[in-house]
């Protein structure tokens, strides 16, 4: 569904990714593991169409996204959701945060009308917003202001915000690296829920155990390229690549 093929990307003189290929299908969770400082975030930004590769292609259902004009690429981009390591919520209520993705997809006339409505009287919360908040266990607190949440709760809202507009693909960049075990469990549950809805998920993580728990396939990013990508049990029990084996066993220290 979403696929990067032979992508390379440099920043200045520093080549972060070199001829790397990875893809995700509907209803599949792919984990990208690798030490801190390799280009996991860069890879996700390429997949999110927020960054253009120097070489190679990023395709959505076979269409080269960077061959499209801006308007066409926007509509392709809108099928992808991304959650960052930091929650980065807007200074507004949970509802306003989670409905943002739905709001920007509506026409300006429509948006203006619903803004006026919400000033005059409280209009109902869209079902998708309630559902998304329900997945992360915060549906009962949706009127609260984002500033009143703990870090873990904020990250859960951030996940719900990307889930609410029902993307085809979700990209998660270290979504639980700052979280306690309980909030981590909620996010991992939400990942499973997304998969069962047929969403393709790519999760970048430095937590190998998390990759083992949530992923169908695992790609090991070492240096500037994928050393090996294979089903989860193969990567963890029987990797073919020597560097992957060393990384998994902890011998390869960066």
């Amino acid at each position: 569904m979403l696929r990067a093929t032979d992508v390379s990307r440099s920043f200045g003189d520093e080549r972060v990714l070199r001829e790397l290929s990875i893809g995700v299908e509907a209803g599949e969770v792919v984990a990208v593991i690798g030490p801190s400082g390799v280009g996991k975030t860069t890879l996700l930004r390429l997949l999110a169409l927020g960054l253009e590769p120097d070489e190679g292609t990023v395709t959505v259902d076979g269409t080269d996204a960077w061959g499209l004009d801006d308007a066409e690429r926007l509509s392709v981009r809108r099928r992808i959701g991304m959650v960052f390591q930091e929650a980065s919520l807007f200074d507004a209520s949970l509802v306003r945060n989670v409905e943002y993705g739905l709001r920007v997809r509506r026409s300006w006339a429509d948006r203006l009308r619903s803004e006026l409505h919400s000033v005059l009287r409280s209009n109902g919360t869209p079902g998708a917003v309630r559902e998304a908040l329900d997945v992360v266990g915060l549906a009962d607190r949706m009127a609260q202001h984002a500033g009143s949440l703990s870090g873990g709760e904020a990250q859960r809202v951030s996940f719900a915000r990307a889930l609410a507009y029902d993307p085809d693909v979700l990209l998660l960049d270290e979504p639980t690296s700052d979280l306690d075990p309980r909030n981590t469990a909620v996010i991992e549950g939400a990942i499973s829920e997304a998969r069962s809805r047929g969403i393709g998920v790519v999760v970048a993580t430095h937590d190998m155990h998390q990759a083992e728990r949530v992923a169908d396939r695992v790609g090991v990013l070492l240096g500037d390229s994928i050393a090996e990508i294979a089903p989860t049990d193969v990567i963890f029990e029987n990797p073919t690549d020597e560097r992957t084996r060393k990384f998994i066993s902890g011998e390869l220290v960066y």
Binding site: G50, R77, R78, F90, Y100, A162
Partner: protein
């Protein structure tokens, strides 16, 4: 200026008597507000787009533009007044419009004075919005306009502060409005280009301390009221 304590009863008497010709104070307040509000509105309309453009992209000479704006915050107002006076004088490029000693000329000079602080403080507020918030708006499907609106909304307190600072500078400014406006009242004592500040300056120079202090009180109340209104509007925005 020092006002002896014995003048306190006089001050009270002045408040009760209001020994002003009819319409004197109200016309001065009107001129002050008219000139400052229009100047600050125009400044805001120019400053915010400039601040957004500068906050959102890097270009050659950006640092230079920034330092020009920052220098503008410290422009001596009398120099601005002098420059605007040359601009609108008979021999100046805007001479044919006959703007000398008019409210329009005062608006021009206050616009010049208010724009740099509004731009600079707005820019700081916009640049202070976390990059991750922009990223979030973009990855959630926002267009460039959507992202800009999110940033504006996140920066709303800073922008409100910027507009207040501009308004504060405009309404409390003496030098340039005195030069380009002329501190004129018509024969019946109604202000044409006399503002609270220039009136205070004149009354104090003539030894009318009570009048000057009353006008000073009016000016303070005005500035406080505008601040209170803006802060209140900002607070209402939080729940949204």
């Amino acid at each position: 200026m020092s006002v002896p304590l014995e003048s306190a009863p006089h001050l009270l008497a002045a408040l009760v008597d209001l020994p002003f010709r009819e319409g004197y104070v109200s016309s001065i307040v009107y001129v002050s507000l008219y000139v400052s509000v229009i100047a600050v509105t125009l400044s805001t309309l120019v400053s915010i787009p400039v601040a957004i453009a500068m906050g959102f992209r890097d270009f050659r000479g950006k640092q230079f533009v920034k330092s020009v704006i920052n220098t503008g915050m410290g422009f001596p107002s009398v120099v601005v007044g002098l420059a605007v006076l040359f601009l609108v004088s008979n021999q100046g490029p805007l001479g044919p419009l006959e703007l000398v000693f008019t409210k329009q000329a005062m608006i021009i000079s206050q616009f010049v004075l208010a724009t740099p602080p509004i731009t600079a403080i707005s820019l700081a507020a916009i640049a202070g919005v976390d990059e991750t918030v922009r990223d979030a708006a973009r990855t959630l499907g926002g267009t460039r306009l959507d992202v800009a609106l999110v940033v504006l909304k996140e920066a709303r307190y800073g922008i409100a502060t910027a507009i207040l600072a501009g308004f504060g500078r405009a309404i409390s400014e003496v030098g340039s409005v005195l030069i380009v406006g002329g501190n004129i009242t018509s024969a019946d004592g109604v202000s044409k280009t006399r503002t609270l500040t220039t009136a205070i300056q004149l009354e104090a120079r003539q030894g009318q301390y009570e009048t000057a202090m009353i006008l000073g009180g009016v000016l303070l109340v005005l500035v406080l009221a505008v601040n209170a209104i803006v802060v209140r509007l900002g607070d209402q925005g939080v729940g949204r």
